[in-house]
Symmetry: C2
Subunit: 234 residues, 2 copies
Amino acid sequence: MPKETFFRLPPARRDRLVDEAIVEFAERSYVEASLSQIAKRARIPKGSFYQYFEDKLDLYRWLLTDEVPRRKRAFLGEDGATGASFWERLALHIERGMAFLVEHPQLARISAAAADPTALPEVRGLHRAICDAGLDELRATLEEGIRSGALGKVNLELATRLVATVIGPGLTDVVLAELGAELHEVLASDDLRARLSARRRRALADQTVAFLRSGLGAPEDSLATPPRGGKARA
Amino acid sequence: MPKETFFRLPPARRDRLVDEAIVEFAERSYVEASLSQIAKRARIPKGSFYQYFEDKLDLYRWLLTDEVPRRKRAFLGEDGATGASFWERLALHIERGMAFLVEHPQLARISAAAADPTALPEVRGLHRAICDAGLDELRATLEEGIRSGALGKVNLELATRLVATVIGPGLTDVVLAELGAELHEVLASDDLRARLSARRRRALADQTVAFLRSGLGAPEDSLATPPRGGKARA
DNA sequence: TGGGCATGCGACCGACCAGTCATATGACCG
DNA sequence: CGGTCATATGACTGGTCGGTCGCATGCCCA
């Protein structure tokens, strides 16, 4: 947690610090990120930084668990479950995720960083807590899908983790391919983002939901010959 | 590429260096990994290291593009396409991937590192080349699946990337959850690996293929109401 | 025996890092 | 005015890093 001094800072100074920290942690891992760079770019002496935060980890933790989620909620607008069917809600969720990625690539990158491997135990604990929370939420969603009859009988643990990687890293990859750019270009550029329209996002979300719902098998194939001993689906 | 001196080294000395480099690069990213640590643990003076490789990147590149793929091929035994159907071959491929992950977690981790984000341009180029090669291979496989009629009509680019993340990071995550361990524990421990039997791997592979083939939708659901305007599948 | 050459080696260099500390500043209060 | 207290500041510390350099070692051939 930041020290009280941080919250008493003139807003311009505080924003400069936070914005530069977001840029730095979006581009580099926790270990690679440099406090000296953040401070220099925010035009805040390093000694002053330590009046605001305990240390580097304190800043990172606050960003990851407070500031970035707050900004993410602000963008997503607390939309929540907007009626319709399970699959329609999923498609909407995916489309909003792509919009967030395109409009706020730095925040999206920091959110996603929780899944990256790291050797530092403190950081690993932090990341794991975030990942687990996301998985719990998704698991609950899938359970509700099962109750509502939208989903067939599935291995819940397997499905949760596979779906999580599809709508997480998988979709990020798809979006980058659509933009024809690499992650670091998107983080740095402003106009690349306009290249993925809401219509196109919706189409990609629909295709992704179709994949999650019905798989890739040919229609006649997928039901006529149940995969390997009928284990799937039943 | 290593210098000639490296290949003239007494095998024990060379192996020590390579093994410690694999351990280090498996646990830490390129930037975080420390040559000093590798050299110290391999009991090779740093000055000597620079007789064998141009620099840190030279070692990393050789590991990533030569040594690790060589060891991976040695483990997978050039099995190649072993008859049977498209889906059966895919299941086999997935099972072998899980076996490699469990038996050689360090090598698997280094292979997978190519997908991690990094700010260093030289490393990014290296990683991108490896990822692209993997995607090309998978795309060709899927195209063959389409020709053979096993796959329905799909957005090939989307499908390639989604399948790649499912059988890559997704399955890694599933395996770690099965083992009840984190990546760094598996990298460090020997006996955790025995906890995922060939039978269990095969079951997970089958369930994963069922997911890729038929999705998660309930049987009556997935065909009765084509997702959103009939865009999927047809 | 002696010269040449591949290799071994560790002290050393400059850069960068996270974090500290002594001092300076300036607002508020009596 | 003098005193106190929150805050600002940048030089500094101790450490690690990738990479270099000059010297030592020991084998091969004359």
